[in-house]
């Protein structure tokens, strides 16, 4: 395992905020973080595995919605604010829709939803919350929602 090497060609993405997502290893890290978060929740709360998956799903919803679809711009000032009106989701792959990265990120909430609802045996209220989380996340990632601000929420001043 220690001798596994990956080759990375420097990408042509100029946006330093999103180009880290094009390097190898990101998808694996994402999945591993979710898995270890589940283990952590299980050990802290001592609840059932299904409850733990629901908690991970809801926390994942809160975190990814905030960072991918709410926060706009970049965390550094070098690019002189050209991305200040775009959320992170709208910035990746230079705004190109339906790339491999975007498809992967759309599939993850759905898979999490399936795991969470299966392990809780489709009981309420967990099912309702999980479904809400999955629907909101997937709709936010539709290509038609690119740069759409519903009712002006989160629009620029």
């Amino acid at each position: 395992m220690a001798n596994l090497y990956v080759k990375a060609a420097p990408p042509v993405d100029l946006n330093r905020n999103t180009e880290w997502f094009t390097y190898p290893g990101v998808w694996t890290t994402y999945i591993l973080i979710l898995f270890f978060a589940w283990l952590l929740v299980l050990s802290i709360f001592g609840c059932s595995p299904g409850m733990a998956w629901t908690i991970v799903n809801l926390a994942h919803f809160a975190v990814t919605y905030h960072f991918f679809h709410w926060k706009k711009g970049t965390p550094f000032a070098d690019d002189q604010g050209i991305y200040n009106a775009l959320t992170w989701w709208e910035q990746i792959d230079n705004g190109k829709q339906l790339t491999r990265n975007r498809k992967f990120l759309t599939v993850v909430p759905v898979v999490l939803y399936l795991i969470a609802s299966h392990t809780t045996d489709y009981q309420h209220p967990m099912l309702f919350l999980n479904t809400l989380a999955a629907i909101v996340l997937v709709i936010a990632k539709f290509p038609n929602m690119h740069k759409v601000r519903i009712f002006g929420i989160n629009a620029d001043k």
Binding site: A2, V6, A8, Y23, G25, P75, A77, G81, N84
Partner: protein, 489 residues
């Protein structure tokens, strides 16, 4: 192509994730405590828009003591580093009066001209007394002295071009020239890892900018073909002018530009080529004439050659060399020539003397020795580091060698551990490099002796073992192998 160990990539993503989470939690607490304290800043606009200072506050500030360290002597092979301490986790860094003599592996003085030199310094002091430290005016007003004229002639002869123009600042040589050379309706194709000054100049020009994959002539050809066939955006008229911008040595990778192939492609598609030799002039090539000499490209094939005097010549400022018509045009349009203060006369004299030393016109062979020494030093150091198992980027003969660190925690660790053993290195992280690829950049000089290099290698090897950055696995020592073979016999 950079080879990343997979586990290191995963660990790096995880570390950055953790740092971001902690930064956001601290920001949340800061927002809560600020709710309670009132401030009388009604009606003032915020200094930072949105969250653009997040990286600066929460990540950079943690390791701020590794950057911008003040020195108290000239940056020769050894220099005096001023020690600093901080009582509030790097928000303020206070200088002490203690200094530390450190081995300098971070200066760009490739030929060792940053230190007082036996030929250059007396002449610089003479010109200081004769021409005063500043001309206090722009080149067109009263700022052109005989030194400036002589310097331009020397630079043009050194590079083999018809004429040259010099400016007082290297950064401005890029950012003020590009808007003058090309405007709206033109196309700039630049390498993806070009320096900030080229990016700013390109943005300021108003031309359309396209980027090609770093040092990949095939991708450049692809981009050129696509752009020439499509023409200008929306109107699809042919481009007025196409300039391809590349650098001689890329300062973050240490690799040389694939100049012969790129020149061939530019000739084929009739695009102009702009070569920025900030790091390669004076440091590579048999007589120090830069990347053209090393790779066997005729300087007449390059339309605009730009460079700086800050690195190999030990001075300040930049130059542009090209045809007589080009330089004449620049002299009456470029704002850096018309409005900016001209280069300081002693600085110009330093460059003239440095060029004379390099060409051997001072009567000694010190110039040729320096160039040979910097090449030997770079090749020796690079091969030793690679034998030890570090991942070192850059081509042979290039005096810039970045050592890959990847993990954000190793950046300050490498810097501080090396400093404890009196070796000063420069570490570079996001956003100057991509997020994953943080590195420590070593710049060698002709003034480093073999003993100093061996000491540096020893220190770096120890620190490398401590940090676990020998990603490629050290080669087994040769005499151990021979002993094993002898025992079998």
């Amino acid at each position: 192509m950079i080879t990343i160990p997979y586990v290191a990539a995963l660990a790096t993503y995880f570390s950055y994730g953790l740092l971001f989470v902690f930064g956001h939690i601290r920001d949340l607490f800061r927002k809560i405590t600020d709710c309670f304290s009132s401030n009388n800043l009604q009606g003032y606009a915020p200094i930072c828009l949105g969250n653009e200072d997040f990286y600066q506050r929460r990540l950079y500030q943690r390791i701020r003591d590794c950057f911008e360290r003040p020195i108290a002597s000239a940056p020769d092979a050894w220099f005096d580093l001023v020690e600093r301490f901080s009582n509030d986790s790097n928000k303020t860094l206070k200088r002490t009066t203690r200094i530390r003599r450190c081995l300098n592996l971070g200066s760009y003085s490739y030929l060792g001209f940053a230190a007082p030199d036996e030929y250059c310094t007396p002449r610089v002091i003479d010109s200081w007394n004769k021409y005063s430290p500043s001309t206090c005016s722009s080149r067109v007003d009263g700022g052109t002295t005989v030194l400036h004229k002589e310097l331009e002639k020397h630079v043009a002869n050194f590079l083999g071009k018809q004429d040259a123009i010099v400016f007082g600042m290297g950064y401005v040589s890029n950012s003020a020239i590009l808007p003058v050379l090309i405007g709206k309706g033109g196309l700039i194709i630049s390498d993806s890892l070009n320096h900030c000054s080229l990016v700013n100049g390109a943005r300021g020009s108003g031309a359309t900018i396209r980027v090609f994959q770093h040092n990949t002539p095939s991708h450049l050809e692809e981009v050129l073909r696509e752009q020439i066939s499509e023409g200008q955006p929306r109107t699809h008229r042919p481009w007025k002018k196409i300039i391809v911008i590349v650098e001689g040595i890329y300062s973050m990778e240490g690799d040389l530009c694939k100049l012969p192939e790129i020149v061939a492609i530019c000739k084929k598609y009739k695009a102009y080529i702009y070569l920025d030799e900030a790091h390669s002039i004076g440091a590579i090539g048999k007589t120090g004439r830069g990347v053209c000499e090393l790779l066997g490209v005729d300087p007449a094939d390059l339309d605009i050659m730009m460079g700086t005097f800050t690195k190999s010549f030990g001075s300040c400022g930049g130059y542009i060399a090209g045809s007589k018509e080009l330089i004449q045009y620049l002299k009456y349009t470029c704002p850096a020539h018309l409005y900016a203060t001209s280069m300081s006369p002693p600085a110009a004299e330093q460059i003239i003397s440095a060029i004379k030393v390099i060409l051997g016109e001072d009567g000694t062979s010190r110039g040729a020795q320096k160039i040979a020494r910097v090449r030997e030093n770079s090749n020796f150091f690079r091969s030793e580091l690679q034998k030890m198992g570090f991942e070192v980027l850059g081509d042979n003969d290039s005096p810039v060698m970045p050592i890959m660190l990847y993990n954000p925690a190793k950046i300050p660790a490498f810097s501080r551990e090396c400093l404890k053993q009196n070796v000063a290195v420069v570490v570079v992280s996001f956003p100057a490099t991509p997020l994953l690829l943080a590195r420590a950049r070593i710049c060698l000089s002709a003034s480093h002796t073999k003993e100093e290099l061996l000491k540096a290698l020893e220190v770096i090897s120890q620190v490398g073992d401590l940090l676990g950055i020998k990603y490629f696995g050290a080669e087994p020592k040769k005499h151990q192998q021979e002993e094993k073979m002898m025992k079998l016999e």
